[in-house]
Symmetry: C2
Subunit: 389 residues, 2 copies
């Protein structure tokens, strides 16, 4: 990626925002990002969103939100790639800036899931699978993840509760994140007796649906004023890869190949190996995704992601910290907005502004979002620029 930097970030709390509309959530995040960037104004708005058409009967979000934010005459569009919508919007924003056609891109992730009853949200989330052949048969994202976990535990003789390290780490890290949905640590005993949702996944193995909006401003460094108030973070590597939509079409459903490939491509572009990253913001929509993502990234062999997660390896001071601000599990899962939250949190880490969640000395982040069971995988390497201007 040629010289694309993150100049500003903004986010709302992740929560069930019963009294705030989608457009208001979006506005707060956009305003915060522009203010954070010293008042920088965008030429373009790329909106990562997954379910506004399905749940809020609103398409044309780009024009709606540019208008509502008073961003007159800029370009705007919505980008959708299921759970990876926000990450894909971030990538399209980075490419637009790299192309030279757009000077400042505002990338927004926004999702409002609380306006509908839970069963309707679960149904709409299933429309990211193959609606005609999977969702129509009753498949939901949660049921699919549960089957994946069953297979994983069977195939690799994984003991009960072995995936607990993922949600427990996420919850511990969320305590210091003022925007997180669940700011409380969870003890192993509580995990072990939690209500089962879809065996073997209990309520702590599943990220909570939520509302939220996050935004970042992307630009080229030469367009910023000399005394810019923040360290600049460059987009050092970017890759998006798809796999078969259906798990049953894959040679090995337990291998997240698109996740692996997109990490290989993004880290190669950035000139690093995955292990050189200081932390890994992975897509823990389900605890099994955590294990499979660690394996796809090469941090553990197939079937051993859960082992790697033991003994503090994935904690803030561990070998490869994950979910540093709470991850999807404890920060919350605001659908297509999630990928932008992951970027915003990574920037806080790289700026050294992560408070008690800080990964010490972090200057390279590996960030990955998934759509479905890694049917889409989008990976970015973000890096602190030593010199500004």
């Amino acid at each position: 990626m040629r010289d694309v930097v993150i100049a500003g970030i903004g986010q709302t709390d992740v929560a069930e925002h019963w009294e705030i509309s989608l457009r208001e959530l979006a506005l707060y995040a956009m305003e915060a990002a522009m203010q954070d960037a010293g008042g920088l104004r965008p030429n373009a708005l790329y909106v990562g969103n997954m379910l506004a058409a399905s749940l809020s009967h609103q398409v044309h979000l780009g024009a709606l939100l540019a208008d509502f934010a008073g961003l007159h005459s800029i370009e705007a569009a919505q980008i959708e790639a299921a759970g990876a919508s926000g990450a894909m919007a971030f990538r399209m924003g980075a490419l637009a800036v790299a192309s030279g056609s757009v000077d400042v891109a505002l990338v927004l992730g926004v999702e409002k899931l609380s306006d509908q009853v839970a069963s309707q949200v679960e149904a709409a989330l299933a429309w990211a699978t193959d609606t005609d052949y999977e969702a129509e048969q009753g498949l939901t994202a949660t049921a699919q993840a549960a089957m994946l976990a069953q297979r994983y535990m069977h195939e690799y003789s994984v003991p009960d509760n072995a995936l607990a390290a993922f949600p427990l780490t996420a919850h511990a890290n969320a305590v210091a994140n003022p925007h997180a949905m669940f700011r409380r640590a969870v003890k192993p005993e509580l995990y072990a007796k939690a209500a089962m949702v879809s065996a073997p996944l209990n309520m702590f193995d599943i990220a909570p649906n939520a509302d939220g909006a996050a935004a970042v401003l992307l630009t080229r460094p030469e367009l910023l004023p000399p005394k810019f108030p923040h360290p600049l973070i460059e987009v050092a590597g970017s890759s998006a890869v798809t796999d078969t939509l259906a798990l049953h079409d894959r040679p090995d459903p337990l291998s997240f190949n698109a996740a692996r490939l997109s990490i290989e491509r993004a880290t190669k572009e950035a000139g690093i190996t995955a292990k050189e990253a200081d932390f890994f913001e992975l897509f823990d929509a389900f605890s099994i995704y955590g294990a499979l993502s660690m394996e796809a990234a090469g941090f553990a062999k197939s079937g051993e992601g859960w082992k790697f997660a033991q003994n503090g390896n994935i904690q803030l001071d561990g070998e490869m910290p994950i979910a540093t601000m709470g991850g999807l599990k404890a920060r919350g899962f605001p659908g297509g907005a999630t990928g932008v939250y992951q970027v915003v949190e990574s920037v806080l880490q790289l700026r050294g502004d992560a408070g008690d969640s800080q990964v010490k000395g972090a200057n390279q982040a590996l960030v990955q979002s998934l759509g479905g069971p890694a049917s889409t995988a989008v990976t970015h390497v973000l890096r602190t620029l030593a010199e500004v201007n």
Copy 2:
């Protein structure tokens, strides 16, 4: 735009395809574009679609369609900007190629409107207005266009049937287009006695909802083999601009400002004036849009677009030909796919392959798509490259 060329095109017939699914329509267009480009394969797929989530309960179209087409491990995403979705996907594809991060981008426009009853389609199309404040009050796109036409005729003392030249020209030009929905000329007498839909718009003033898929392959010229089978068409200018979503928020609802601005920016980038274009593929979803688009492009003064359209000025051999292969009115309006159809048809013109619809000596095209009443406007200047490789 740095060195981005169109290497291949494909399209299905525009029709009510009752027995063909969305994915099959998409596959036909993608395969045709790859074959047209001598077997060139893409690294990325950008899907312009407006209503699959709303009408087919399918999101994650990028991964679904890359998978269905056997395009393994490429990146994929959906781009949405209401009626301009296809044009915006084309722009994002061009920016991705210009950035250097993507070598070959496949841009697909696809829409399936026939699977639902007409009232449901009209409701879903209204979700491109402000759902909470406009669609909820009963506003539809057709009713909105009719009010716009009422105001236009009142404000500028426009006689009855004065907009007829737009649909009549479109129908005349569609006769030679084998992919068009309505391949028959319409006489002024038939127009004059047509059934009124929403006064003053009769059935010929409104483009028909339809199904279809169109695709183009974008790349950089140096990546093509020396003996490439087609003249190359470059993306000489590209611009996307938004306006207020709601007409009532504009100082003058009869001025399509985003349409004007995006033409100014795209033609400036291409180094031409709008009048130097050899034809104008405009967005005639409604005949009133035709008049207002001609005015926004500067071909006529405010209130005089309908006059310019008289006396053959917009016919194939006129001063500024429009809707050369039938336009939205007679080729048909396949929702978010439309913008890609406009590009495919422009390429046929620039290659000299437009048959009896050919604009003689055409080598510069002005192509514009609108989302809502120019709430989004996306304009491209396409130009035949004199030298290949």
